[in-house]
Symmetry: C2
Amino acid sequence: MEATRALARYVVESRYDDIPRGIRHEAARALLNWTGCAIGASRHEAVERALAALSEFSGPPQAGVLGRGERLDILHAALINGISSHVLDFDDTHALAIHPSAPVLPALLAFAEWRKTSGADLVHAFVLGVEAECRIGLSVFPEHYNVGWHITGTAGVFGAAAAAGKLLGLNEQQMTWALGIAATQSAGLREMFGSMCKSLHPGRAAQNGLSAALLASRNFTSSEQAIEAPRGFAHVLSTRFDPTVITRELGEHFELSSNMYKPYACGLVVHAAIDGCIQLRNEHNLKPESIARIDLKVCPIVLELTAKTTPQSGLEGKFSVYHAAAVAMIHGAAGEAQFSDACVRDPRVVALRERVTATADDTLAKSAVRVSIHLNDGRTLARHVEHALGTLQRPMSDADIEAKFRGLTDGILDGRQTDELIRLCWSVDTLPDAGEIVRRAQVSSLTLAPSPGGRGKTGSLLPPGEGPGMREGNH
Amino acid sequence: MEATRALARYVVESRYDDIPRGIRHEAARALLNWTGCAIGASRHEAVERALAALSEFSGPPQAGVLGRGERLDILHAALINGISSHVLDFDDTHALAIHPSAPVLPALLAFAEWRKTSGADLVHAFVLGVEAECRIGLSVFPEHYNVGWHITGTAGVFGAAAAAGKLLGLNEQQMTWALGIAATQSAGLREMFGSMCKSLHPGRAAQNGLSAALLASRNFTSSEQAIEAPRGFAHVLSTRFDPTVITRELGEHFELSSNMYKPYACGLVVHAAIDGCIQLRNEHNLKPESIARIDLKVCPIVLELTAKTTPQSGLEGKFSVYHAAAVAMIHGAAGEAQFSDACVRDPRVVALRERVTATADDTLAKSAVRVSIHLNDGRTLARHVEHALGTLQRPMSDADIEAKFRGLTDGILDGRQTDELIRLCWSVDTLPDAGEIVRRAQVSSLTLAPSPGGRGKTGSLLPPGEGPGMREGNH
């Protein structure tokens, strides 16, 4: 059977009981991790600016923005939560390059507030959405990614469409259309890395995928071979396509089993370097003043993605392996604080960053690094990290993810709210109403009661709009 | 200077006085033609289904749907008017393959209802939007189109962003971002031709381009070399890129001077065949019963795009050069009526359609055809059409466009409304408030007064929602 229809049929026919327990638990881990990221970034400038630009066009207050008080229509809520959950580059990553949760969960949680959805149904739809986006993404990987597509956006839209379509109860024909409507909205360029548009990609994927499912539910038609046709997604957006990746072992192998969570607030390719530096720092109680030079040997992709030698902003710092190594050595950490504008400009950091070198070594995998630290006293310390913390070989534990959640939500949620959210996420598959997660993730002082039959005064919550005019520096 | 910034600077610095009178008049022709198409298709199933799927998520009633009563937020209005204006395949076409008005005018007219905009400002922004989308499209043409991109969607989003950005008064930096945010949403597959998604493309381009400009106005950042960077739009979505096409003679040569309007309600590539058949039919008073065979020699692209031998629906009929020739011969016309489901299934049409052959002849241009009609009495009538009616060589007159408008709006608007709209379009550059055009294009019996401070009951206007379930026939 053709890939588009085979995938549609699988998603439509799958039953919750078919999902193994381990995969359901992985869904809860993904949910907790993702929710923390969205709340943690809920005051990020990208979120503020997107809300300032778009909220006056929002429909009824159907769904909440995590970590804030605004309630928007479900399409705008999916967009904004998609942006916030990815903007820190702290969300989950599938084995190769896709961030699976950021395009899918915003669509599902918005949906769950609009039409009451059980936690089990949400978990089920999420697992299927991840299956769709990862299999479609992998079927054109790596050529599709290498040419310049941001696969989290381009594949993510399929995930959101399949997941939302499952909750809408689409039949096979409609699910095929939903995938087609998703295919023809597939977009997102890697050229945007380092700008706010990177996080726009999963936001739009969530919004457009949800919209695709809604359109299909009203029998809005598309091609029925949208993925595999000679002018379909795969052939237009890639030079390689293996349709069996989409159809092989459907319902037996689950892509969510290859999901990873990040201990550090930046792109995965930098994690090994951070890990190696932190290990040596802690073992030898190193101070930056004692370090003459840090030499990194890294997988070539690391230099392709993160070779900014003189980052000017926190965001650019995430694309600098030099900065990452420097803060790991100075702070012993690489959280959001280490990728702030202030930290990127800190003279101590700048001074050490200038003493970091990185060279490509194609014998090293993406998750590996060889760190050599040359000390002023003539000694050299070396560390070979084969698998960075957070990889499938060295996964974060449930407790690690919970601790990460607490770190991200600290200062935004109060302690009771945090505890309650953690409890809701771990027990998501037992919840009668998954929308409860979003309601508990909103900040009550900003929460608006929707006026009956009317719109909440969403706009009034926003900071005064910034007028046209340039901002300095950070992009 | 780099193409993205050069284009942004041009759009920002252009003054209305710089636009030649002839180009302003061409803008009025495009506006009248486009408005007629949108009104004429305002009850099309694609429009009904999109409204049924999405209107409950619409924001405040800021802008009208042409030919109907609904008022939606400006982003949804841009989407729906973009769909309706393209769904008949009757809108304008730039020399090569782009439909320039459908992605740009919906964004501008929605904007004009939201923030009072003079007709001159609207014309100015439209001319600049067309300039942006056509130049960017041409810079990657034809490879970009040939690989499978629907250039009206992929390039159109730039046109909407540039045009809306002009009305928003973006500065050069913001306009550069607006083009970048557009670039990273560029999407639309030719695989969708023959389905409702084809018209979704300009709708989304209008919506996403408008949204890009709004985001940029709040300093939402993107890459600043979004078009020309190694991983930018041009290199990722095409194997060919000539940046000088974007920057050459900016402000001197205007792409709108290459705009064409269609006399027939289908893809341009079929027009020559229709034209030739109608000419021979009328000159020789031919009846289908007297015809043994119609042989067409056509440009190869005609068979690539419209080789459906047994169309099952009106929509598929538009992608059948055989059907087009048959109805031209039987009806002497090729309007919407000739591309209805009923006409496609009419036994007289089916019988003649089966006697039409088409063969590729690469000496023929897209706008040319050689028609040979073999009569049952043994005679053969031949006609070589070099330039079909509606081409730049044989353009539709102002009166032709006005007559087309009357045909499209017949039965939807009353006579006085039609006259008034025609007057408004021809005099658009003198209007103090261009939003007047949309208000006059709405059907008053369905018009809702927006409730003060609240939302119009948009939803209640819609036909009862169709539940999930398949429709027969036209996929």
